[in-house]
Symmetry: C2
Subunit: 125 residues, 2 copies
DNA sequence: CGGAATCCGCCCTGATACTG
DNA sequence: CAGTATCAGGGCGGATTCCG
């Protein structure tokens, strides 16, 4: 999901595959979920996102935001100021992903609870 | 999520990160979603999965199933027959992922509907 | 039938430096 | 502040071969 150099254009590849694949192409990946989860909270500036999401590099944040923008999920607004200010937020359609992300989070939480005690201490070998 | 050579052991890395990341580590990736979606339907044999999931290679199916097994989401049952028969199914806890996958599919479906008409024909340039 | 093992290319990702 | 440019490495994933 990262070959077309033309930004701001919904690419056909985002619509390939069954519905499950289409959705996971958008919210899957290493950073997309966290970015979207962060944006559920409301509009965020670039460096805000960088601080909230642990471990993400500037490059990756930029690239992933571009893809989400291309998907029509995230909106990017540039304010012509000095120093520049860029704000990211969910688009109107992007808002519809909120219950999905929240349910994913809930399941992840229950998974941690269920599996937290099952960690083998055999890695002390 | 693919370095530990010891199978059948829940690895700590599956529990790292916030709940959203934990969940997406399990259902994200290129094939996991489709595999889980297929298994929602019930127990499947190895080659059944291979036929149902378009484009997956034997290697990838094996690797992804192993990871899902390590996560405690998928159960692998080997029948000592000739020729061998191996059946995969969701574990009891794995069943809890069903509403998540279904909601992901639903969102993907609405995404296709919403964006299907927005494809730029500008690639005819 | 259901794998395991090996080889290998590509691209994803990180690190670093530079810019408007 | 919010990027872009460039380079380098590692691992993801495909193709192929072999096995019980």
């Amino acid at each position: 999901m990262k070959k077309n150099p033309e930004y701001g254009v919904l690419r056909a590849e985002y619509l390939q595959g069954c519905s499950v694949e289409v959705a996971l192409n958008i919210i899957g990946g290493k950073w997309k979920g966290m970015i979207l989860y962060t944006l559920l909270d409301g509009t965020k500036r670039f460096n805000e996102l960088r601080q909230i999401i642990p471990g993400i590099t500037q490059r990756m944040l930029t690239l992933q935001l571009r893809e989400l923008e291309d998907c029509g999920i995230v909106q990017r607004v540039v304010y012509p100021e000095v120093p520049p200010r860029v704000e990211y937020s969910l688009t109107e359609f992007g808002q519809t992903i909120k219950p999905v992300i929240l349910q994913i989070r809930e399941w992840g939480s229950s998974y941690k609870k269920a599996m937290g005690g099952h960690l083998k201490q055999s890695n002390s070998n």
